[in-house]
């Protein structure tokens, strides 16, 4: 592997800005890495090499004092962000000839900062599925353990960043779809506050719960991306000290039914925070158990409304899981949709005035269990699908219902050598604080620097 690809995004950006390496050289290295390793991972749906190389050459001609925050940095994104004149599949092969006529404002912001977005990444079809399975493009495989899931639906985003194909990637998170792939693939993912980043010109599922967010290999890298995607100030926050801050440890729900390895890992993470001067405090959280069903009562009818024409025209053309979940949306009454939306307001207020008033951020496991085998969680419909979804997303979906920001960062390896991760949760619009805490944790623990063995061996 080209050692430059093992740098973090910020380190690579410094080399590019200083002219130690050109944008074209780094893009060539990234494409070569995809060609070498992606047959074993299947993270990439398409490479837009010609356009990307033209951009890289143009960037190399920019004087050093005029270079942007992401000058020449190769990125790749979940294949649901529109770019004018390019294909966008939504993870569905029949869309393979569909060229978009508009560009996502998020891609425009990355372009404006000098990033080179060169590849479209695998995802669950229509962003419906938390495992990384895709019947059209094939299952995306975990770079740490190909027989295990990548998480989803932004499966390719987690896998491509972990495999060092790209320094960062955009995903979208309606029930955990940024955080689960980050957690399963040993990288760092941020679900921003609901509504912080625009939903224009990207594939929608649920305007109430959809949340685009970045994945990278460090919280500082995410902060740099958020400086571009949102507003400046996030990276500066990561330089501030954390001593004296308090992390809240929930007394219920997030500690229930934990796998022993997850339990030991979260205890170890608490010790890391204690070592860097952060005080753990116990906090009581409102009963989270109804939130998954209430979230379903909001996003499923919204998704069914958006995709009803496809469901009516030729339901057999939709992948099984997408068809099953869209059909479920038709089963929710408008009365229940409105009641769930109103309950959401009460639940958020309880969190703001309760546990999040007693600490700076809450610390919980990213998942209740270690990363499962792909064969253990494959289901296309029915009750087995619902049970699998509930088990995988138990700690991610509450934040979509509540609209709160969450950061997932690696906190160790399980007995199979597969990443375990923790999740930090804060008040609305406190992304900078999450990134500050994540950065401090990563400096001390260093699990975000662990590479998949398949890269170390090559």
């Amino acid at each position: 592997m080209n050692q430059l690809l093992d740098l973090t995004l910020c380190e690579a950006a410094t080399h590019l800005r200083n002219g130690d390496v050109s944008a074209a050289e780094l893009l060539e290295a990234a494409i070569a890495a995809v060609e070498r390793h992606d047959p074993a991972i299947n993270a990439v749906i398409g490479i837009e090499g010609e356009r990307a190389m033209a951009e890289a050459h143009a960037l190399d001609a920019v004087p050093r004092d005029k270079r942007g925050l992401l000058h020449g940095v190769p990125l790749a994104h979940k294949d649901m962000f529109y770019r004018a004149d390019e294909v966008c599949t939504f993870g569905s092969a029949p869309r393979g000839d569909t060229r978009m006529d508009r560009t996502s404002p998020l891609l425009r912001r990355l372009d404006g900062a000098g990033a080179v977005s060169f590849a479209r990444l695998n995802m669950a079809a229509f962003a419906m599925g938390p495992t990384g399975h895709n019947p059209d493009f094939g299952r995306c495989r975990n770079p740490f353990a190909p027989e295990r899931i990548t998480g989803g639906s932004s499966s390719g985003s987690g896998a491509a960043v972990a495999a060092r194909f790209a320094y960062g990637a955009l995903g979208s998170d309606t029930g955990g779809s940024v955080r689960l792939p980050a957690a399963c693939c040993g990288v760092v993912g941020l679900k921003p506050t609901q509504g912080l980043l625009p939903l224009d010109n990207l594939m929608g599922l649920s305007e109430s719960l959809d949340c685009p967010g970045p994945i990278a290999r460090s919280s500082r890298d995410l902060a740099r991306l958020m400086d571009v995607l949102d507003r400046p100030g996030h990276e500066a926050a990561t330089e501030q000290g954390v001593r004296g801050l308090r992390i809240g440890l929930p007394t219920s729900y997030y500690g229930d039914d934990l796998h022993p390895e997850v339990q030991a890992n979260i205890a170890a993470a608490v010790e890391v925070f204690r070592q860097i001067g952060i005080e753990p405090v116990l906090v009581d959280v409102p009963d989270h158990r109804p939130y998954a069903d209430l979230a379903d009562a909001i996003w499923k009818p919204e998704a069914a409304a958006l995709h009803l024409p496809a469901l009516q025209a030729d339901p057999a053309a939709l992948p099984d899981q997408a068809r099953a979940r869209l059909t479920q949306g038709l089963a929710t009454s408008a009365v229940d949709y409105i009641r769930a939306r109103r309950l959401r307001t009460l639940a958020l207020r309880q969190m703001i005035e309760g546990p999040l008033a007693q600490c700076d951020a809450m610390l919980v496991p990213a998942m209740r269990q270690p990363v499962p085998l792909a064969s253990e969680v494959e289901a296309t419909g029915g009750d087995s699908m619902r049970r699998n979804l509930e088990a995988l997303t138990a700690f991610s979906r509450p934040l979509n219902f509540l609209g709160l920001p969450g950061l997932v960062t690696p906190s160790g390896l399980d007995s199979n050598g597969v990443p375990l991760s923790v999740q930090l949760i804060a008040l609305p619009r406190r992304e900078s604080l999450l990134l500050q805490l994540g950065c401090a944790f990563e400096r001390e623990a260093g699990f975000n620097r662990v590479r998949p063995a398949m890269l170390t061996d090559s």
């Binding site: 506050t193 609901q194 509504g195 109804p290 069903d293 209430l294 379903d296 009562a297 009803l308 469901l311 009516q312 339901p315 099953a324 059909t327 479920q328 038709l330 089963a331 929710t332 009454s333 229940d336 409105i338 009641r339 769930a340 939306r341 109103r342 309950l343 959401r344 307001t345 009460l346 958020l348 207020r349 703001i352 005035e353 419909g381 029915g382 009750d383 609209g403 008040l427 609305p428 619009r429």
Partner: protein
């Protein structure tokens, strides 16, 4: 979902899969298979029961959906 389970979920009675299939076809233009209709009927009741249980005793009359966005913007608690 059995009739007993559906009643426990908060709904008054079970829903025949045939009725659920007729609803999906008549209202949404979606034709369900027999297996899908069974699951669809069970989901209608399970989902409705879950919302009903979560709403029990909650004062939703004065809650505005827009208040959620105000809370996310940090504009303070709003009923």
């Amino acid at each position: 979902m059995s009739r007993m389970e559906s009643e426990a979920s908060g709904c008054a009675a079970g829903l025949a899969p045939e009725a659920a299939a007729a609803y999906a076809l008549a209202v949404h233009g979606i034709r369900l298979t027999g297996e899908e209709a069974e699951w669809f009927a069970a989901e209608m009741l399970r989902g409705a029961g879950a919302v009903q249980r979560a709403s029990a005793g909650m004062a939703l009359f004065d809650v505005q959906m827009a208040a959620f966005d105000a809370l996310l913007r940090g504009e303070g608690p709003t009923p």
